[in-house]
């Protein structure tokens, strides 16, 4: 027989977003706040990102990933939240979450639920990369756990697929694990991280950045022997010897519980669609952090968690779940987050902005936001591209007419970004 539990707020996922939401809710007197964490330790992805660079925007100091993960867990516990570690929310029984842990099987009912289950990198198969299926092909997530949690040495010569922030994080992990990176490969005309990170990487690790290049195949029977690279401009292919391929970025939110709850998924982010208060389309169900869109840095996820807590508090106090209008994006935009506008919206999104990403670089982009032909806002962004979000001001949301049809966001001007670095 499964045990029946109840809480005021249940939070699925004890990474930065979930723990920050829990700390804020518990401190504000939301009642019994329970965080469900399926790993043995709370903290999420930063637990196994052992380099520096975490915490600037939310805790106002820089620290390592593991230190940052521990700090968030301490803050949540100190505020009075309970963390159920080694416990997985496996599905729904009506409005209750079904839980499995070493203590048994339970059904947890809560007045509000926050999904903070994060995201993962698309594995090689989901990217439809042809070739054989030897050992030595993995995502950054697996690589970092192998190296930092299990002390493994995963290979000697690695090729990194992708050139976003996390790809540079993979580079640091490879160095720690005794492997050298022979190339970093991106289909885009330039990397998508900070200029400083890229410059430091090329100086310190002498990694070659191969732009406008696709991984066209993997070779090797038992162990990776080489990748086939295709130049996207000339079509020429060549082999590059390696014994490890790390597929980085290309995030997909861990959206299973949202889908099982019947919450609408956004076609761009593939996470649950949410409004500025991080409400999904299912009443009582909120979503925060990288389950909404993959992937923002950990501190941005934590700030989104705090933001969700504010929405949950208003909901616990006043109830109500307004109808929402979807925000649609047109190519080259890939997604916008949040991606719903609630009727009578008064609250701003997390950090006062909408996040947008594009499939390719656009220089001097002019964006137009409209509702069935009526322009709500237009203006230029500083930058727009893949791999890194741009901030879109949020004031226009208040001018959306309830029942006035979908809102569209499009690139109305600009020019293609540089074709080569």
């Amino acid at each position: 027989m499964s045990v029946r539990l109840s809480a005021d707020v249940a939070i699925v996922g004890g990474g930065p977003a979930g723990l920050a939401a829990a700390a804020r809710l518990a401190r504000a007197g939301a009642g019994r706040v329970v965080v469900i964490e399926r790993e043995r330790e709370p903290g999420g992805i930063p637990r196994h990102a052992r380099h520096q660079g975490f915490g600037l925007r939310d805790l106002h100091r820089l620290m390592s990933g593991p230190r940052y993960a521990r700090r968030h867990a301490e803050l949540a516990i100190a505020a009075g939240a309970e963390i159920l570690a080694e416990t997985q929310a496996t599905g729904w029984a009506g409005d209750a979450l079904e839980l499995t842990g070493p203590g048994g099987r339970a059904a947890l009912e809560a007045r509000a639920v926050v999904l903070a289950s994060g995201c993962r990198e698309r594995p090689r198969a989901a990217r439809l990369v042809p070739g054989s299926r030897p050992a030595g092909v993995m995502t950054t997530g697996t690589l970092q756990q192998l190296v930092y949690l299990h002390g493994a040495r995963p290979g000697r010569r690695a090729v990194i697929a992708g050139a976003e922030h996390v790809s540079f994080s993979a580079l640091l992990t490879l160095a720690h694990g005794g492997a050298s990176a022979v190339a970093m490969v991106t289909e885009h005309p330039r990397h998508q991280s900070f200029a400083l990170a890229a410059a430091a990487a090329s100086l310190r690790f002498r990694v070659r950045l191969l732009t406008r290049t696709a991984i066209a195949g993997i070779r090797g029977r038992d162990r990776v022997e080489a990748v086939e690279l295709r130049d996207l401009d000339s079509g020429a292919t060549r082999a590059l010897a390696c014994d490890l391929v790390v597929f980085t970025a290309d995030w997909i939110p861990d959206h299973e519980l949202a889908a099982l709850a019947g919450a609408a998924l956004d076609p761009g982010t593939r996470g649950p669609a949410v409004d500025a208060e991080l409400r999904t389309t299912r009443p009582g169900l909120f979503a925060a952090g990288n389950v909404v869109q993959g992937a923002e840095p950990a501190d941005a996820a934590a700030l989104a968690g705090r933001h969700a807590a504010a929405g949950v508090l208003r909901y616990l106090e006043a109830g109500g779940w307004p109808e929402a209008i979807p925000i649609e994006v047109a190519d080259p935009l890939a997604w916008i987050s949040p991606n719903l506008v609630a009727a009578g919206a008064r609250q701003a999104p997390p950090r006062g902005r909408f996040l947008v990403r594009a499939r390719r670089f656009v220089a001097a982009p002019r964006i137009e936001v409209a509702q069935t032909g009526r322009v709500l806002w237009s203006g230029r962004l500083r930058r727009l591209g893949p791999g890194r979000s741009s901030a879109l001001p949020a004031g226009w949301a208040a001018r959306v007419e309830p029942g006035g049809g979908p809102v569209s966001v499009a690139v109305a001007g600009g020019r293609p970004g540089p074709l080569r670095r």
Binding site: G103, R105, P130, R133
Partner: protein
């Protein structure tokens, strides 16, 4: 050198493992030799996982007879030992008037094979039953006994039962040479040398090479590669049946099938290749399959892909299985066992048993029958430890989920590592527990599972 074995079975795929189990009923000293690292890890692990009725087989062939018999044997055995099966039935869909016109001929072929339960449906009934099929279907043939089965558990169940009955299983022992002796064979393997009175060739893709080592001729295996795409479990609700195409003279075509793991499968391609180890997927193959998927079930291609893989069918120049026994040589063989091998395996084992008996292998049945076996359920349907409060209360390891996507617990990993036929690597662990089979493909649990596998050995 030690005492000779009575029978050395070469190849522990579906056929070899089923034969080992079948012969374990008798007073025989048996060794099961597998070149690969595990049972069922060669061509047996990569197929469409369909339990065939044989409705479309060529009437009068050995294959037609053994597939029909194997279907019933495997269905009964699945129930006995816990092999996941879902009784979905199949719909063979005609996508044009010309294809519709061929349905009666396919029904007549099924009847000639002794299978009378096919029924023709019009487009209205077809779309009522499968509303998400792409537009343009002109009708269908219902094949109510064409089901889906777990492709991994059968050879493991056969081998487990055989090992418990006293068969010696040796893995990573490829046969490299055969020499005839006065009363049998001297067998050189990757691990050394052994002697056996009888040799049975169940070597799958390499059955033709072993056949020649035994001094025989008669067939050549040309691997026919089939590429497949596995879609995310969230797509499972799109269809209820196996969706088959109308076959052409060249190929059986691309199907969409549910899997017992709760995914949808799209494939296979069919390309003859030369290299018996080349299970690479190709860009052309994937693009072709996605185009077919878009036509058959348009919503499917909008779902995430969980895995792609390729299997090699052990096809020969003959249109039928090659099975026989030579009493003078004390040698028997099963070659050309193509994609129907999973379904037919237990019937092939019976057939080989009788052929061996007729050729002079003494078959004295042991009292008591085979030891009972119960395999862990790795199908989506049916009970799972993570959802079983009583099992978790009795053993908290069943409450510790380690593969989050597939909800596989530490208790199940431990049980697999301590089973009579334990896994040799992560792929073996996957086929026994379905850990790593899910949508994250190891992002969350790959490192942890590698560590559990390493610590147990």
């Amino acid at each position: 050198m030690t005492q000779p074995y009575d029978v050395a079975i070469v190849g522990a795929g579906d056929v070899g493992a089923a034969l080992a189990r079948e012969l374990a009923r008798f007073e025989l000293r048996i060794v099961l030799l597998e070149a690969g690292r595990d049972v069922g890890a060669g061509t047996s692990k990569a197929n469409t996982a369909i339990l065939h009725t044989g409705f479309d087989a060529k009437p009068g062939t050995l294959e037609a007879r053994l597939v029909a018999r194997g279907h019933d044997l495997l269905l009964a055995y699945a129930d006995e030992v816990g092999i996941p099966v879902e009784r979905t039935g199949a719909l063979l869909v005609a996508w044009s008037a010309e294809e519709r016109a061929r349905l009666p001929e396919i029904a007549a072929n099924a009847a000639a094979n002794g299978y009378e339960r096919v029924r023709e449906l019009g487009p209205e009934e077809l779309y009522a039953r499968e509303p998400r099929l792409g537009p343009g279907a002109a009708g269908a043939l219902e094949v109510p006994d064409e089901h889906i089965v777990c492709p991994f558990t059968p050879p493991l169940a056969f081998a487990t039962q055989a090992v418990l009955a006293g068969v010696e299983l040796r893995r990573s022992e490829a046969v490299t040479g055969l020499a005839r002796e006065r009363d049998g064979w001297r067998v050189a393997t990757a691990g050394g040398e052994l002697r056996s009175r009888w040799i049975v060739n169940c070597a799958g893709l390499r059955s033709d090479e072993l056949h020649r080592l035994a001094g025989m001729e008669g067939f050549t295996v040309t691997p026919r590669r089939g590429e497949l795409i596995v879609f995310d479990k969230l797509s499972r609700g799109l269809v209820d049946h196996v969706i088959l195409p109308v076959p052409t003279a060249k190929t059986k075509g691309v199907l969409v099938a549910p899997t017992v793991f709760g995914n949808l499968l799209l494939g296979p391609t069919a390309v003859d290749i030369e290299d018996k180890g080349d299970t690479a997927v190709t860009r052309e193959g994937i693009e072709y399959l996605l185009a077919q998927g878009r036509r058959i079930l348009p919503e499917l291609v909008g779902f995430e892909v969980t895995a792609t893989y390729a299997g090699l069918r052990a096809a020969t120049e003959h249109g039928d299985y090659r099975i026989g026994a030579d009493g003078e040589r004390r040698y028997a063989w099963a070659g050309g066992i193509r994609s129907t091998g999973l379904t037919a395996a237990m019937a092939i084992a019976e057939h080989l048993r009788d052929a061996l008996g007729a050729a002079g292998l003494p078959l004295r049945e042991l009292p008591g029958g085979l030891p009972p076996v119960r395999m862990p359920n790795i199908g989506e349907a049916g009970p799972h430890p993570y959802a079983d409060a009583e099992r978790i209360a009795a053993d908290p390891e069943y409450g510790r989920v380690v593969c989050f996507c597939e909800r596989v617990t530490r208790g199940e990993i431990r049980d697999a590592l301590r089973s009579p036929v334990p896994p040799a690597d992560l792929d073996g662990l996957r086929r026994r527990t379905r850990a790593l089979m899910g949508r994250c493909q190891g992002f969350f649990c790959g490192a942890e599972l590698a560590s559990l596998l390493g610590s147990e050995r």
